[in-house]
Amino acid sequence: MKGYTAELEKSFRDEVKSLGFFDANCWIGRPNFPGPYYLHGVEEIVEHLDYCGIERAMVSHALARFSHPLVGNDLLLKAIDGFPRLTGSFVLLPGATGELGSLDGYLDSMLKANVRAVRLFPKSHNYSLGDWTCSDLLSRLEERLLPLFIWPRETDWDTLYEVSSRHARLPVVLEQCEEEAFWNLRYLVPLLEKCANVRVETNKGHLYLGIDEIVRRFGAGRVIFGSNTPIDDPFASLMLVTGGDFPEDDKRRIAHGNLDTLRSGVKM
């Protein structure tokens, strides 16, 4: 029996390079749970992106989730300064407790630092994503067309539907981090059907034929490449795109085009 591992790897790597990947879901800082290896410094992350053939990445800081957004966001900006391939994604909080100061002021300074995407962690940070706590924040994000990246496990599907339909111009990107891979299609499909502003990111998107199914039903415009590096292995998401059952142009949109479009649509 003969294998073709070297040939397969070469064609995979060539294809990754040709698609110009922009990773929407990268982290610096140490994750808060055990794993076999950690990359946590920005230099290590960049070296690994090179190894994978990923051109650019949008990065958040672990301490923005596990300590406080003010701490993590600040560390993030300092860490990625001087790395033009990296762009930031801030973790935010709702305005009621005033922890970020003036929301408008915080968002303005964030945009000045070229940070054009945000993440919310309602469960980890112990608040509701519902409008009764988050309407001030969500309305401001919607006004600025700032993409919101959120994990379904950090809220619930009913709230996701309410928020996405009430804030219909807010770009919402669902990420399946720390969750079974796309096993929620019975929630996800009707949500994508009813809310044109919702998209999905590819990390943990390895439900059998899952990405192909979403592209088939809703088009490649609803899928964004993300890997959750360095918690998850980026090569899993990479091959779901390079090996996808859809045309090259669709792969390019997923690899970088859709995220570039979202970021360039932000109202400064």
Binding site: E15, P34, G35, L209, G210, D233, A236
Partner: protein, 272 residues
């Protein structure tokens, strides 16, 4: 995968499923579609167990469906018989019958799905038969308290499938070859799986499942050696392309990748 569409399929996927899961939607869940996907991503053969046999007690139905699949695609789909420890006599009879049929290459057990511990006495008839006849057994393994989630979650049924429970079985039956599916599931299970696989020469692991942790393949190769790792994808729960990508991209030698992709399975199941 356009650049390598013309390569002859060579990967052996030691861990896939047939049938439906009750709690999630499996798109395009047909044998024809699976074979097209296998062709597209370089998978020569898959070793399949039917979900109904693993998650319910309807093992007769599961075997009949597996047999149909094996007969529909000889040389591409191989079958696992499924042993159910709650019905030792009847189940063993069905297992023996199917192991005598062309295309059945081993036995699959699911201690979490069947809510029965790997080291429980209900499995004894299987261990004895498999050990005596050189039949590989693939067992689901997982960790009861996966720690790569936050906050941590307890998964009670998985208590039955902890890799550490494989150790006394492997010790008692040194000729029995056991594959620990999912390499133990999550981090704490991985630690147990490594400990058992290092200690017992008759214990192997596969990389199937939803866990795609960074550095996992390199870690297992370092700790237990590539010769004990089988490629598995968990089709039709999960997509084989993710796992092929992980192996291809890992920082291990091409020779080790070949062992994982097909050489170990070829030697364990004696396809050649």
């Amino acid at each position: 995968m356009s650049a390598h569409d013309n390569l002859e399929p060579f990967i052996i996927d030691a861990h896939i499923h047939l049938g439906h899961m009750a709690n999630f939607f499996m798109p395009d869940n047909t044998l024809d579609r699976m074979i097209r996907l296998m062709d597209r991503c370089g998978i020569k053969a898959v070793c399949a167990s039917h979900i109904v046999g693993l998650m319910t007690h309807h093992f007769e139905y599961a075997h009949a469906e597996t047999l149909k699949a094996v007969q529909a695609f000889p040389g591409r789909i191989y079958g696992y018989a499924i042993y159910n420890p709650h019905f030792p006599e009847k189940s063993m009879e069905v297992v023996k019958d199917h192991l005598g049929k062309k295309g059945f290459i081993g036995v699959k057990i699911h201690p979490a799905g069947h809510r029965y511990p790997i080291d429980g006495v209900g499995y004894t008839p299987l261990w004895e038969h498999a050990s005596e006849h050189g039949i590989p057994v693939l067992t689901h393994t997982w960790d009861a308290t996966p720690q790569n989630t936050y906050p941590y979650e307890l998964v009670p049924a998985q208590v039955n499938a902890q890799p550490k429970l494989v150790d006394p079985v492997a010790e008692r039956y040194p000729d029995l070859r056991i594959i620990m599916a999912h390499s133990g599931g999550h981090y704490n299970g991985h630690l147990q799986a490594i400990e058992v696989a290092r200690k017992r020469k008759n214990v192997f692991v596969d990389i199937a499942g939803e866990t795609i942790s960074f550095g996992l393949i390199e870690w297992f190769v370092t700790e237990i050696g590539a010769g004990k790792i089988l490629f598995g994808s968990d089709i039709n729960w999960l997509d084989p392309r993710a796992h092929i990508g992980r192996v291809l991209g890992s920082r291990i030698s091409t020779a080790d990748k070949e062992r994982i992709f097909y050489k170990n399975a070829d030697s364990l199941f004696r396809f050649s």
